[in-house]
């Protein structure tokens, strides 16, 4: 089976009446790794959250399709069941629910009734992923994200990614708050996912993550739009020269949303 395709067309998104995204176009196919870069406040995380259906974001215009299916018509859980995944920048803490129970419920929610994952198989898979991500095995029995350090939360997001095996994943600043060792481990996990059946959108404002995960396509976001796209070389140029040259090219003074040229 060839991979899935996520198409984002002319996406406009508001939060509390303020327009953050002003027409984003992006297509991600199975087998492709895309990076969306840009300074803070340019709408990157809004893009990630809006695709997954975050309750605070209102889509005012545009379309999102996953393999031709209208994503905007789907509830959040249906989007996940269709194959979308969002690794969150700030995962919620859920008291009283263990990470392990949550993972099993998640996996089973994406399987047919009566075809639940056998417990031993689940434990085996989880243990092997915990090893890959160098996560202490006790974490599975702790309440979901409660009292986790920033790094533990990020690793837990990637653990979920690896266990759920989505068709298309969006990773929202998965590198923020990670030291270099943790960054390497997390990158290893993400790279293990690489296949024809997996497409990935990596949102970051640091080039350093892309030293470990090589994207096929790099996009730059400013003022709620994708203003430049290219290959991996674009990320390298941003690292050495910063964003000013793009702003100059486009005649932008302030790249954040709400500062129109």
């Amino acid at each position: 089976m060839a991979g899935s395709t996520l198409e984002i067309k002319d996406l406009h998104v508001e939060i509390e009446g303020e327009e953050i995204l002003k027409g984003v176009n992006l297509t991600i196919k199975g087998g492709e790794f895309h990076a969306v870069m840009g300074p803070n406040g340019t709408g990157k995380s809004t893009l990630a959250s809006a695709v997954m259906g975050h309750p605070k974001y209102e889509i005012t215009k545009g379309e999102i399709y996953l393999d031709g299916e209208d994503v905007l018509e789907m509830e959040v859980d249906e989007r996940a069941q269709a194959g979308l995944f969002l690794a969150m920048q700030y995962p919620s803490e859920i008291s009283g629910v263990t990470t392990s129970d949550f993972l099993r419920s998640s996996i089973n929610s994406q399987r047919e009734e009566g075809d639940e994952i056998p417990l031993m198989q689940f434990i085996k898979e989880m243990d092997s992923k915990l090893d890959t991500l160098e996560i202490d095995k006790n974490m599975a029995q702790r309440y979901l994200n409660e009292g986790f350090s920033g790094g533990e939360k990020k690793r837990n997001e990637i653990l979920q990614l690896m266990m759920l095996q989505p068709a298309i994943a969006i990773l929202d600043e998965i590198d923020s708050g990670l030291d270099i060792d943790a960054l390497k481990v997390v990158s290893k996990g993400i790279n293990e996912m690489r296949s024809e059946n997996f497409g990935c959108l990596i949102i970051t404002h640091y080039q350093r993550l892309l030293d470990y995960i090589t994207p096929d396509h790099v996009h730059v976001m400013m003022q709620g739009r994708i203003v430049k796209s290219g290959g991996p070389e674009l990320a390298h140029r941003l690292e050495s020269e910063g964003y000013d040259w793009i702003k100059e090219e486009l005649g932008i003074d302030d790249e954040t949303v709400g500062q129109e040229a």
Partner: protein, 435 residues
């Protein structure tokens, strides 16, 4: 809707009822006086809950229940409460107003433990029952409902644990309101004599979703010097039952009383749980969880009063409100003058899952002594939509996500409950109420 406040049961009816059961004179006398008091006394008056339109009068008072010949004949709802090896357990099943099954091991009988129908106990152990029945615990004349309780008591259990006797396995009673219209005026009298130890678990069950009726429950628990009592309850009356629950503890020197209450009724409920820490170094934990759903209104009071020096009282209650349910959680820590070194702590947390639900937590500390420690924490909030988003973003349905959040919210209380059977029963019942 029934709004009569007076009962159709008069002195003559009550005298006949007493006579039919061959009750001792002292108890007949309490009943007759209670009929008058029930006419004259006011209803309880919870501050923030209007009970004026609740049904307290539409019920059938005298309903028999058949013996249980085999546990297999019991409905699933009852069987899950029994667990395994039921034949070996010290257990009473009350069906409507009759004892349908009773078992107390020979070993405990030989040690002098009494575990039986309260009316039987009035004959066999009259002095003991009379000494404690509605004297230093709940008084007949507290309000209209306590008086009505005494006048119409149609069910009850007496549990007595002699000095120095320690009972390991929980003693369990199931009160099964099998007939939809049958009222339960039930009295539990538990006396743990000096340095004894006992765990008692009770379950209230009914299925009257449509038919209205009444449950009027008084529990009096006496933990004498050095005794340790764990009292677990899972209340699970159906929507048609209006419940008045009054559980009272009396804790003497160096004694401990632990309450673990699952307040899972589906009908209107007025519940007060008062513990008097009478003796020095007495200790009580009052732990309670609750799930409200439908249109039910509930009012819960957990009140620990400190009289003894260095007495410690801890209230912990968590409630989840769904649909259009409304609940008030009052937490009261009262330290009397002279109760030096007392510690009164409480925590009440309420989570509302829907727009239509309402919840309130009222922490109250009343302190008449300087040399004490006390603290309270209370919170009332709605479920965090971002939490639900997070859970659903992994494919979990909204219903399942809410289920996880509810279990998670109640877990800190449930896992603190010292009685394992109550923990697992509660998980079952919570599960049933979440959907």
């Amino acid at each position: 809707m029934a709004v009569d406040t007076q009962l159709p049961y008069d002195k003559e009816y009550v005298a006949n009822y007493s006579g039919k059961r061959n009750e001792p004179d002292w108890f007949k006398d309490i009943r007759q006086k209670a009929v008058d008091l029930a006419d004259d006394l006011p209803m309880p008056n919870p501050e923030k809950t209007r009970i004026k339109n609740w049904n307290f009068t539409d019920f059938e008072h005298d309903v028999s229940g058949a013996d249980i010949k085999s546990f297999d004949e019991l409905p699933e709802k009852i069987r899950v409460l029994l667990g395994d090896h039921v034949e070996e357990r010290n257990l009473i099943v009350v069906r409507n107003n009759n004892i349908a099954y009773a078992k107390l091991s020979d070993e405990l009988k030989e040690k002098g433990v009494i575990f039986e129908d309260i009316f039987t106990a009035m004959h066999e152990h009259g002095d003991l029952v009379q000494k404690y029945f509605m004297q230093d615990g709940v008084s007949v004349d507290e309000n209209k409902l306590t008086a009505r309780h005494a006048a119409l008591m149609n069910s009850g259990i007496f549990l007595y644990v002699p000095k120095n006797v320690e009972i390991e396995e929980p003693i369990q009673v199931i009160f099964w309101q099998e007939d939809d219209h049958a009222a339960l005026f039930n009295h539990v009298l538990l006396v743990a004599d000096q340095h004894s130890q006992v765990t008692y678990v009770e379950n209230y069950v009914s299925n009257n979703d449509e038919t209205e009726t009444v449950a009027n429950i008084v529990s009096e628990v006496f933990a004498l010097d050095g005794a340790k009592v764990s009292y677990g309850a899972v209340d699970n009356f159906a929507q048609g039952t209006t419940s008045y629950v009054n559980r009272r503890g009396h804790v003497e020197r160096d004694a401990t009383l632990e309450w673990a209450l699952g307040q899972m009724n589906d009908g209107h409920t007025l519940s007060e749980n008062v513990t008097n820490l009478v003796g020095d170094n007495s200790l009580s934990h009052a732990k309670a969880v609750s799930v409200g759903r439908g249109n039910q209104k509930q009012d819960f009071t957990a009140n620990i009063r400190h009289w003894g020096q260095a007495s410690e009282g801890y209230i912990l209650q968590h409630g989840v409100m769904k649909d259009n349910s409304a609940s008030i959680f009052n937490g009261i820590g009262k330290v009397e003058n002279g109760a030096t070194k007392a510690n009164a702590e409480q925590e009440s947390r309420v989570l509302m899952l829907s727009e239509g639900s309402r919840g309130d937590a009222n922490p109250i500390l009343l302190i008449d002594e300087d040399d004490v420690t006390a603290g309270h924490a209370a919170s009332v909030g709605r479920v965090d939509p971002i939490q639900l988003f997070y859970l659903m973003s992994r494919g979990i349905s909204q219903q399942e996500a809410e289920r996880l959040v509810i279990h998670g919210f109640l877990a800190p209380v449930v896992r603190e409950i010292p009685i394992e059977t109550v923990q697992s029963q509660l998980r079952e019942v919570i599960e049933g109420k979440v959907y």
